[in-house]
Amino acid sequence: MSKENNHISSYKDHLLVLALLITLTVITVAITSIELNAFNTAAAMLIASCKAAIVLLYFMHLRFDQKIFLIMAFLVIALLVVVIGITFIDYLYR
């Protein structure tokens, strides 16, 4: 803001992003309604992650803001993923 962040996204961009998100949502519903077994979960989570990334980058402005926010957000999410992974070292190999 003020000096540090003067990028203003246009209304059109917001609407485009929204359209993209809704499309992705419809796609997940479609994909998961057909039987794909394990792939099902993977596809749903992959699309959810894409949607989350879009929200973070555009709606939450990470793409245009100072890089530090992007780095922090990335590290935090990576941390969560590693924690889930380590927890599963227990559950997968019991």
Binding site: H14, L21, S33, Y91
Partner: protein
């Protein structure tokens, strides 16, 4: 001594105004969002572990939820995310009226989301499915875990919706009173960030509870 102190008082006030640091408050909000991500992260761990341990029960239980309801709510939240983002663009461009409309629309959409949720939960309650009910006690282990998580996670998400609405409502009044304006909109921006977080969490809750099997 007394007058000395008086001077100090005023000195602080002018000072703190001069040193308004919007980036600091944005950083603060981001840090808070990280905390929230980990808060739900804990629940995601629980969810994934129990899903792993009870795949069949989770599959069957999820069919009790209505995909249509979930889909509608997802789209509502996505739109509300866009409206709040546009309200920020509007305030940045100095368009107070549009900004007010957009924040208003966001709050309204949030309300619709909650009403939707109310009916969704309500229909479960009608069938005797609510925390602590006899029906719930009779469920098989996996079903019990699924619905416990369902109520807990969507419930906690609902609480976040309400907090977000309060923040947005405050922003609305501040915009109205010109306390939030084109050169000073940190409050709106931060409320917007918080609102996007609420959306972000739902983006994961939706497939986890309604879709995957």
């Amino acid at each position: 001594m007394n007058s000395n102190n008086q001077n100090m008082e005023t000195a602080i006030h002018t000072h703190s105004d001069m040193h308004r640091d919007d980036t600091a408050s944005k950083l603060g909000m981001w840090l808070f969002i990280f905390t929230e991500i980990l808060l739900f992260g804990g629940l995601f761990i629980v969810y994934s572990v129990y899903r792993y341990m009870n795949p069949v029960a989770f599959h069957l239980a999820h069919e009790e939820l209505s995909i249509t309801m979930g889909l509608i709510n997802t789209i509502i939240l996505l739109i509300s995310s866009a409206t709040v983002a546009m309200s920020i663009t509007a305030i940045q461009k100095g368009d107070k009226r549009l900004s007010l409309y957009m924040v208003g629309a966001t709050i309204l959409l949030a309300l619709v989301f909650l009403i939707n949720k109310y009916f969704e939960w309500g229909s479960k309650f009608e069938h005797g499915m609510y925390p602590g009910s006899d029906l719930m006690d009779m469920l098989s282990n996996g079903d019990m875990l699924f619905f416990s998580l369902y109520f807990f996670m969507t419930g906690l998400h609902g609480v976040h919706i309400i907090v977000g609405m309060v923040l947005l409502a405050v922003s609305w009044f501040k915009i109205k009173k010109d306390a939030v304006r084109s050169d000073k909109y940190a409050l709106l921006e931060n409320s917007g960030l918080y609102w996007h977080l609420v959306d972000l969490i739902w983006i994961f809750l939706f497939p986890l509870f309604y879709l995957i099997h």
